[in-house]
Symmetry: C2
Subunit: 181 residues, 2 copies
């Protein structure tokens, strides 16, 4: 059922129904019982988020080169390429427009935090100067996703500028910390 | 007509119709002729953006204290307070969900660029170390709007963290530029 429902969501999003689609419509397109969809996902919001996250994480291994600067740059470019695609923009817009008020946790955000945490953890073991996970999320991930949903250009060059800023922040923070020792 | 249409958009957004409302519906709620609305705004996207921008710029003078650090901090806190409100989140979400593909220019982004440009220009005349306008947009504005539309917390503390990072970037860039002279 899952792949039929995912495909149905993708089809409806592609046909421009991302803002209006309902679980009964998704079920009809998928050829499954609406009750099963309600039982499995509960709401359109949960379903849309799951599909978006699935689209996001497919075939995207975390860079691992023994050098945080290179890893962050590659990671940010992969994400920029991914979320800059029209289909991914449409998914992300569908996701935010399905939201009301605040969310406990955003799945995209949670995945990016885990990935940033892993790369930064490895870099710390190598005693490299590192930005904080918060800085990577706020200054690389948030601007990339902002550009994707607001319809501004998201490309490798933009990603590289963001990464360069965060790496300079890491250096100045490391120097400040060394100076205060 | 403008205020009746703005109020109708606000009412429909408030009633949860932000994702589905159409120009004929807005016209009906506003008690005006749909043809007039089409003639004046053309599409729901244009209308939603105009309303969002109007909601944004009301009663928000640009801080002017002769000190960029203080100005950016106050400015970012005002924006965080503003876009963190449920009504403003709803407007911003309505705005992005009405978009397709890329936009030429985002009105929110254009306004923030003008404001950043003005504050940074004044600071340069005072020979303060300044970040670039791009850095202010990418590392303060984009994360704030990202948090607003994705449903993450947006508050003064978050804004202050972003501003502190950007100010540290300005300092390190100024030092690097002085060292290369």
């Amino acid at each position: 059922m899952q792949s039929a429902v995912y495909a149905a969501v993708g089809q409806l999003v592609g046909q421009g129904h991302r803002e209006t689609m309902t679980i009964p419509q998704v079920a009809e397109v998928a050829g499954v019982n609406p009750t099963s969809v309600y039982r499995r996902w509960g709401t359109m919001e949960v379903l849309l988020e799951e599909v978006a996250v699935a689209a996001l994480t497919q075939g995207e291994p975390l860079p691992d080169h023994g050098d945080l600067a290179r890893e962050l740059d590659e990671w940010a470019r992969i994400i920029a390429d991914d979320i800059g695609r029209p289909k991914r923009r449409a998914y992300l817009r569908a996701m935010v427009s399905a939201r009301e008020g605040l969310v406990e946790e955003c799945p995209c955000w949670a995945i990016r935090r885990e990935q940033a945490d892993e790369m930064i953890g490895r870099a710390r073991e190598r005693t490299e100067a590192t930005p904080s996970v918060r800085q990577v999320l706020d200054h690389i991930i948030a601007p990339l996703y902002h550009h994707a949903v607001f319809g501004l250009a998201v490309d490798g060059e933009y990603a590289a500028d963001l990464v360069a800023d965060v790496l300079r922040l890491a250096t100045v923070d490391a120097e400040a910390s060394a100076a205060s020792r």
